[in-house]
């Protein structure tokens, strides 16, 4: 009986994301037909590119790794009723921090790897600190301040990359030392993918976030503030503190995403470091219903779309940007879940987010 109820709940949670995905692919099909591309070939090429072989699967997981981090960052803040739209800024500032600390010499890897990870997490937390402080103390809307900090980050990282760290004429920082590498799995498995230990780290962090949110007092308090800040205050929870803590953790999570890119994939910081991981993270969190397991699954879906699109372009000739359109439509549908709720006739409105 108990199991039955659990399944019903899970199915209900899954139904809206699944409907959103299916609906967006239907709209994608219409777009394809209208622009004269064959939908079946397009989607099968997309699928093949994403999952057709060990390398493809690994590259899909590689593409999903930063999205797990940014998705967790956004989801974690959401759980406290906050909107971290600044994960984009946090991930690039953190990537830059990792690229700087990673170049330090003379450290054994048991120290250098954690040190670089911590530097990145701290940089991410630092980048959200002012928005977090203003939100917690003065109630300043975090959406606008985190957006502003994204743009400050773009200029800030461009300056430090191009004018301080990079050698003249280069658009990337010097490579980090091998003692700060997150090792690529190709060291152990025969493949070309740059999939690295960062992916494993992402899964561990997702597990930790689940534990933190649902098995600890601090997690309970964060969620209490998220569902009703006033009620939480009455219950003796310091909502100012919780908002600050939740946002800093959120920034640190995004920061770890930057660490993975620097330490596992690029081994440096470069122009165009993030093609919008922070913004896609919002979609990932939303599609994953702000649950760590959902976030991992949604990140893998978005990673698959990102990774499969080049294959789709090669085989079916469809411009890669179709994938961005699909992602945007998925978000629109997930965001208007009321539409599906009305269709499915669910009585309860609103859901968790």
């Amino acid at each position: 009986m108990f199991e039955n109820i659990e399944w019903k709940k899970i199915m209900k949670e899954l139904s809206i994301p699944l409907l959103a995905i299916v609906s967006s692919f239907i709209i994608g099909t219409i777009v394809l037909l209208a622009t004269g591309y064959p939908p079946v070939e397009t989607y099968s090429a997309l699928l093949k590119g994403a999952f057709g072989g060990l390398n493809n699967i690994s590259d899909t997981l590689l593409a999903s790794t930063p999205l797990i981090f940014t998705g967790l960052a956004v989801a974690f803040a959401f759980r406290c009723g906050l909107f971290n739209i600044g994960a984009e800024g946090q991930i690039i500032v953190a990537g830059l921090a990792a690229a700087w600390v990673g170049t330090w010499t003379g450290l054994p890897l048991v120290i250098h790897i954690p040190l670089t990870l911590i530097a990145a997490a701290l940089a991410g937390a630092l980048w959200i600190f002012i928005p977090a402080f203003l939100k917690a103390k003065l109630g300043v809307h975090e959406v606008i301040t985190t957006i502003m900090f994204n743009y400050i980050a773009f200029s800030f990282t461009a300056y430090f990359n191009l004018k301080v760290l990079a050698k003249p004429g280069q658009i990337q920082t010097p490579d980090i030392k091998s003692s700060a590498y997150l090792w690529r799995l190709s060291n152990w498995i025969e493949m070309h993918s740059y999939l690295n230990l960062g992916f494993i780290l992402a899964l561990l962090v997702a597990g930790f976030i689940y534990y933190l949110l649902w098995k600890t007092t601090i997690g309970y308090e964060i969620r209490a503030v998220g569902s009703n800040a006033d009620a939480a205050e009455y219950g003796g929870i310091d909502s100012t503190k919780m908002i600050l803590v939740a946002m800093l953790i959120s920034g640190a999570l995004a920061g770890l995403g930057g660490a993975e890119r620097t330490m596992g994939l690029y081994h440096n910081f470069r122009n165009g470091f993030s093609p919008g991981y922070g913004f896609t993270g919002i979609a990932v969190a939303l599609l994953g219903r702000n649950h760590p397991v959902g976030v991992v699954l949604a990140a893998i879906l978005f990673g698959a779309l990102t990774n499969g699109r080049n294959y789709m372009n090669m085989l079916a000739g469809v411009p890669v940007d179709l994938v961005n359109i699909l992602q945007a439509i998925i978000i629109l549908f997930v965001a208007s879940d009321l539409l599906f709720r009305r269709m499915l006739n669910y009585k309860s409105e609103g859901g968790q987010n």
Binding site: V143, M148, F154, I282, D321, A328, I331, L338
Partner: protein
């Protein structure tokens, strides 16, 4: 470097006119933001709406050889594009910020996708006919200034404006007086798209004669900043847009002249906005109901 020399570089007619040129898309999109937020709908999709407008203006100008039709097309299309935001946030109570993020992605992806389909390129569109000068400026510059006056008049001297403001501050009170909250919000969100689209058209067929991938480059967000810095007031937004436009002009003019790197000048609008929000120079407070979906019979 002589200080006088630097000042001469900064304060001259050229800087003034490039300030006005740079400020134009900001003014238009900020006015759009004001309409939307004054009615209670957060619009962070100004960026995407501008981008869509810039694109459509070039496409229409390309196929009709008329930049003016391009401008009209941009305004209409961006209005329709904004309708998505309206439906999703007004009808389905979606998180307005999420819908905004989605529209920005849709515009970024959609324009490049169509650039590929229509012109077989993913970078820059072919050159099209652009607007001709009216005196020292492109017509869109004057339109933006006129739009400030019109917006001010509508918001503060018409009954429609009063309704917009009441819907944005106290939707339930407005509703009990028989004002259709939904209708007002629909009109305002669509208007915001049209204004942002005009701003985009200014960039593509006004200042330039092409569309480039991602050419709005964050101006929609600077416009958002200008709206906040101007305290949701059309004249304030005009002032903030001119200030931010001035910094943009400065950054281009002072490249290599001053020891301050351009990157730091770029940050100024965003830093100013955070400071304004923090209340250091007079607190910027958004309309009360901004961002909250309106549900009848629920408070």
């Amino acid at each position: 470097m002589e200080i006088l020399e630097v000042l001469k570089q900064i304060f001259n007619l050229q800087t003034f006119s490039s300030t006005l040129r740079m400020a134009t898309p900001l003014i238009l999109a900020a006015l759009g933001g004001i309409f939307s937020e004054r009615s209670g709908v957060i619009n962070i999709a100004l960026e995407g709406m501008m981008l869509a407008g810039a694109f459509v203006a070039v496409v229409v100008s390309h196929f009709t050889a008329s930049p003016w039709l391009g401008v009209v097309g941009a305004v209409i299309f961006s209005g329709l594009f904004a309708l998505i935001h309206a439906v999703v946030s007004i009808e389905y109570h979606a998180k307005q910020v999420v819908s905004g993020v989605a529209l920005n992605m849709l515009a970024a992806g959609g324009t490049v996708f169509l650039l590929n389909i229509l012109f077989n390129t993913s970078g820059t569109s072919p050159s099209v006919n652009s607007l001709s000068y009216w005196g020292n400026f492109k017509p869109t510059v004057y339109l933006a200034l006129v739009a400030v006056g019109i917006t001010y008049y509508i918001l503060f001297y018409t009954s429609f404006g009063l309704r917009v403001r009441s819907v944005g501050e106290h939707p339930h009170a407005a509703d009990s007086l028989g004002i259709s909250v939904k209708k007002i919000r629909y009109i305002c969100v669509v208007t915001s798209g049209m204004l942002a689209g005009l701003g985009g058209a200014h960039m593509s067929v006004g200042t330039l004669d092409v569309f480039r991938e991602g050419m709005t480059a964050g101006r929609g967000f600077i416009a958002l900043a200008a709206m906040i810095f101007g305290k949701w007031h059309p004249v304030g937004a005009l002032g903030a847009s001119l200030l931010f436009g001035f910094f943009q002009a400065l950054q281009i003019r002072l490249q290599g002249v001053l020891p301050i790197p351009g990157e730091f000048i770029q940050m100024i609008p965003y830093i100013f906005t955070v400071i304004a929000l923090a209340g250091v120079i007079g607190k910027a407070t958004p309309p009360q109901a901004s961002g909250k979906p309106f549900k009848k019979g629920e408070r």
